[in-house]
């Protein structure tokens, strides 16, 4: 059968023809008797349905399932999502702006610096004092805290520390 021929303008039925065809169809339908449906058919269809849907794993049904949602509810949910996202983004931006200065201040302060400075000052004062003593008059000399060995005691056990290229071992 040629498809183009069947759907061509020339092959379209006219209204009178349609009425005749409907009558013939009605007659034909009246003469057609539907066979009885056996009870096993229902059972087979139900079993097939259950096999397809009810016995599928929950995770699979969850992944492939769908829910129907009214359009206004969906629109409201979308608006709510946008609004909360915007607010969350604003808050997050503020937080990140505050955080870097906090980190920067820690780095600028650099806790070791005061310790190092303190050590340097202590040693410089100690070492320079000798030179100052020779130059200044006795009245201007202030005695600094001196590192001496007054509290040092001889070791109770002599140990040899061997250094192989800078690595010490006892």
């Amino acid at each position: 059968m040629n498809y183009l021929e069947e759907n061509s303008q020339d092959r379209n039925p006219k209204p009178d023809d349609e009425v005749v065809e409907d009558r013939e169809l009605k007659n034909l339908l009246g003469e057609w008797s539907v066979p009885d449906i056996t009870s096993s058919l229902d059972q087979r269809i139900l079993t097939s349905y259950r096999r397809q849907f009810l016995h599928r794993p929950l995770w699979r049904r969850w992944l492939t399932g769908s829910i129907s949602l009214p359009a206004p509810v969906a629109a409201a949910a979308a608006l709510l999502l946008c609004a909360t996202s915007y607010l969350a983004a604003r808050k997050a931006t503020t937080y990140t702006l505050e955080t870097p200065p906090a980190i920067a201040s820690v780095k600028i302060v650099e806790i070791p610096v005061p310790v190092v400075q303190q050590k340097i000052v202590t040693r410089v004062v100690y070492k320079k004092t000798g030179a100052q003593e020779a130059q200044k008059s006795p009245a201007s000399i202030s005695i600094p805290p001196r590192i001496d060995l007054a509290d040092f005691r001889p070791v109770s056990e002599i140990k040899i520390i061997v250094s192989h290229g800078g690595n010490d071992e006892k």
């Binding site: 001496d148 060995l149 007054a150 040092f152 005691r153 002599i158 140990k159 192989h164 290229g165």
Partner: protein, 324 residues
């Protein structure tokens, strides 16, 4: 037999550079070479500190006992007057790149010898209130160890516990010593030796109640207050006004200077080969011993008037530098 370490320490104190270094501090700073040589090895000493400590408060004295491959090390804590000593033994195993290092205590009688010597008297003068002038020996010493020639060893010697802890000790490096070339024998190699000597001036013993420490070298000397330093030599020295006025015979050197007669007598022959020999004498009137040394000699022998030393032989080997 007298303690060898004591003898070496005494020699250190007596052999001062141009006779100027006569206090413990000067001796430690000027006369102590950080390089000590034994058994074909040069051991270079330096200080190390850890924690809150300084090396400035420690006086160091080193000396070698070559025939025993030993180096003695003494360290004095200037803040307390306590001192510690150890003996370093360097042995050379078959492997030329290895060294066997042993740290052992000073000889048992080192304390007595030091206390009875000029070294101990200088300590006594500097720290008069100390109950003891013996070295503080550590309770234990390590087992001998084998090291590579290129290794560096540290020996902690002074410690301070607590929050402001610190450690002070010796650090040593080692190297193969250059072999000494043979040289021509000279008269300076003939030592004038005065063992357990006494000084007699005009027939009177002036060195006090006990004998002086051993002195051995080419230019032994003694200082007499009001006169000066008399230096003796077996030969004249260019540029220095040595006069052939003395005689070494048997155990004694004797000479006359001005109206005074001086006799310096020991227990052994002054010249090892014996005999009777001319002695050249120089009087250095400008010399003055340090008050510490003069006082220490008085402590050493009650009634002693004088100090004894070996004048720097290198200085007297050549003419003195022109005065500016």
């Amino acid at each position: 037999m007298r303690n060898r370490m004591y003898l070496v320490l005494a020699a250190l104190l007596l052999c001062s550079i141009q006779l100027q270094a006569q206090t413990l501090e000067k001796l430690a700073k000027e006369d102590q070479s950080p390089e000590q040589r034994v058994n074909g090895i040069v051991a270079t000493f330096s200080s190390f500190v850890e924690g809150r400590a300084t090396t400035e408060g420690v006086l160091r004295f080193y000396f070698t006992i070559e025939d025993k491959n030993e180096i003695g090390s003494f360290l004095i804590n200037l803040s307390t007057g306590t001192f510690i000593g150890y003996t370093l033994v360097i042995e050379r195993p078959e492997d030329p790149k290895k060294l066997k290092i042993t740290i052992k205590p000073p000889p048992e009688d080192a304390g007595d010898s030091l206390r009875e010597g000029i070294f101990g008297k200088l300590l006594e003068l500097k720290w008069p209130n100390r109950p003891s002038y013996n070295p503080a020996p550590p309770a234990s010493y390590p087992e001998p160890i084998m090291i590579n020639l290129t290794d560096v060893i540290k020996i902690p010697l002074w410690v301070k516990a607590g929050t402001e802890w610190g450690v002070v000790g010796d650090q040593l490096r080692f190297a193969i010593d250059r072999p000494k070339p043979a040289r021509e024998f000279t008269l300076d190699d003939v030592a004038i030796k005065l063992t357990s000597s006494r000084l007699i001036i005009n027939g009177e013993v002036r060195s006090g109640e006990r004998e002086m420490n051993d002195i051995e070298g080419p230019t032994p000397s003694f200082y007499v207050p009001g006169k000066g330093l008399f230096i003796m030599s077996i030969r004249p020295r260019e540029g220095h006004n040595f006069q052939k006025i003395g005689v070494a015979e048997g155990n004694k050197i004797s000479f006359n200077y001005g109206v005074d007669k001086y006799e310096w007598a020991g227990r052994d022959p002054v010249i090892a080969s014996g005999g009777k020999w001319d002695i050249w004498v120089l009087l250095e009137t400008s010399y003055q011993p340090s008050p510490d040394l003069a006082e220490a000699y008085k402590l050493l022998s009650k009634g002693n008037c004088c100090t004894f030393a070996i004048a720097d032989p290198e200085y007297y080997k050549k003419p003195p530098p022109p005065k500016k």
